[in-house]
Amino acid sequence: MAMTATGVHHRSYTSELRLRATRAEYVRLALMGVLLVVVPFVLDNYWMSIANTILIAIIGAVGLNILVGYTGQISLGQGGFLAVGAYTSVILSDRMGLPTPLAIALAVVMTAVVGTFFGLPGLRLKGLYLAIATLASQQIIEFLIRRDYGDFLTGGLGYINVERLGFLGFQVGGRDVFERQWYVILAVLAVLSVVAARNIFRTGLGRSFMAVRDQDIAAEAIGVNLTRAKLTAFAVSSGFVGLAGALTAHYSEVVSWEKFTLEVSILYLAMIIVGGLGSIAGAVYGAIFMTLLPVVIRNVANALESVVPFLGSQLPAVQNATFGLVIILFLIIEPRGLNRLWERIKEYFRFWPFRY
């Protein structure tokens, strides 16, 4: 972000405020658009399902990054917030009979509200203390939905089966078209989410979040209402997360507490850290990377199983070990994540062949 390509001269503030300026940037944007469109034509259903998982993860990771990366409020409560979005949307749509899009929208609002509530400790707590307080909210939410006091959520079943998504007379189809239809819905929502998040951070609202992160006393001294900024960040972030949660529910067609555990929180945290804190692009890279990682490991292990039988018999352990190792190596090599790595590569080529 800090770097502007040499040779770009803006004639007006309007042009300077654009997200993209150079030809290369437009080309890259176009390539990404083409990629998005081409995907459903080349992948089989299984890989489409992974693409869909990635798209949902992108929305969730972007949301989490707003809170953690941009506002500096470390959160381990992602799983809980995903759950709020999922349960709300499903209860509203399937049990109360609201149209699904409306239910999802209300789920977003509901998660924002709950997120704001759990953000309250963030007003007094800082840094690691807050991180651990959010760990507590994760455990508490997880316990509550798992216990389901009064069978309020699942009616004693422990899980909710979700009807196949349909809205405005449109109905997602069966096995053959299921993944592709979902892909279109999710791709649109993911792109909108990413753009909305980027927009936040070129306006005063986003800047105030970053100010809180960098130096909260100074932020207050220039008139930023810390309480409001932090709670807004929690709300906005949770809104995205709630959307991701609701989509998870409707896409996987079942909601149960096991999808929203601490591991999920950690996975999302890994996404934004490996991708790059405080960068929307980073959240996207991270979501892609961390979702693909176990899948790729499994495929590699399966392919190599005949040569190294150990890989197959110990697959989850191998997956976890690789997960851990990748995170460690990654952060040691480039603590600022994939996004930074990408920027470094770009810089390298721009200044190539000069070293300085």
């Binding site: 800090a2 306006t203 960098d214």
Partner: protein, 305 residues
């Protein structure tokens, strides 16, 4: 007051020159057993550069923190007066007063009290431009939906406020650093950015905590010039903490002296530098400032006679 070719006034106060702007009324501040301030009172007049000096640990920064709402004194009041003249749009503004001692610091900032810090407190990962735009925070609306949409009000607002920010950039000659992350800038430039961020608030009162510490002679001259520009061209009232007596004597209209949390002198620079209590507590007998020596000598003569 509009000056030079600038379209915006940086002065956020609508008070006519010469009237009291800030009244510190008998405040006391304690941290546990430590008395940082004891019964301090003084008045800052609109249009003045008001210096606060005193030995280390005298409570100068604490006083500034009290004014800007970061600390809340246990006793006493700090009042900010507004109105009584015309604002920068030329409208008459009713006279009013605000009790700063009860406000959180962001509300104080909203009244137009801007400040810089002793140890630079910039938003180090943001660019100079973003830091300055943050100075406009209190003048902007921050709707979540509009921000997400960008096109429309959000964009319009960004551009609108950018004009004033550019004028500040111009005034402080920060053009070449606009897009640099402030964390990577030289110390002197960072100090200037911090001044700029405060100016973007369009302050009614500007509080500066040791803006020239750690600078060499030439950089001090620059900084002094910037402060004077802000004061003279934009008409902003300034409260300044500074240890370099040459600077203080040269640019301030009035000086308050603190020692051990108590106000030991308050007057014009000339009065203060000749005050024996000040000399003993702060300046030392063999100060480097020739003018102080002069004043001392004169006083000596007077008492001899």
């Amino acid at each position: 007051m509009l000056t030079r070719a600038y379209q915006h006034s940086l002065n956020g106060s609508s008070r006519p020159e010469g009237l009291p702007l800030l009244e510190v009324d008998d405040i006391s501040l304690r941290f546990g057993g430590v008395k940082a301030l004891t019964n301090v009172s003084f008045t800052v007049t609109q249009g003045h550069v008001h210096a606060i000096i005193g030995p280390n640990g005298a409570g100068k920064s604490s006083l500034l923190n009290c004014i800007s709402g970061i600390y809340h004194p246990q006793e006493g009041q700090i009042r900010l007066h507004t109105g009584g003249g015309q604002d920068f749009r030329g409208k008459d503004v009713q006279e009013g007063q605000h009790l700063l001692t009860q406000l959180p610091s962001y509300k104080v900032a909203r009244l137009g009290v801007a400040r810089s810090f002793q140890n630079i407190e910039l938003f180090s990962h943001l660019s100079v431009l973003e830091n300055l735009m943050l100075g406009r925070h209190i003048h902007m609306r921050h709707s979540v939906l509009a921000s997400m949409l960008w096109f429309g009000p959000a964009r319009k607002q960004e551009i609108e406020h950018r004009h004033l920010v550019e004028e500040v950039i111009d005034l402080l000659q920060l053009q070449s650093y606009r897009h640099k992350p402030v964390g990577a800038l030289a110390y002197g430039i960072q100090k200037r950015v911090e001044l700029g961020r405060a100016l973007c608030i369009q302050p009614a009162l500007l509080l500066l905590d040791e803006p020239m510490a750690g600078m060499n002679a030439e950089e001090k001259e620059d900084m002094a010039r910037y402060i004077l520009d802000v004061h003279e061209l934009a008409g902003v009232s300034v409260v300044l903490i500074e240890h370099d007596m040459n600077v203080v004597m040269d640019i301030s209209d009035r000086v308050s002296v603190l020692d051990f949390g108590k106000l030991i002198a308050d007057g014009t620079p000339d009065e203060v530098k000749a005050d024996p209590a000040v000399i003993e507590a702060y300046l030392g007998s063999d100060t480097e400032d020739d003018e102080v020596k002069d004043a001392e000598r004169r006083m000596q003569e007077r008492t001899d006679v």
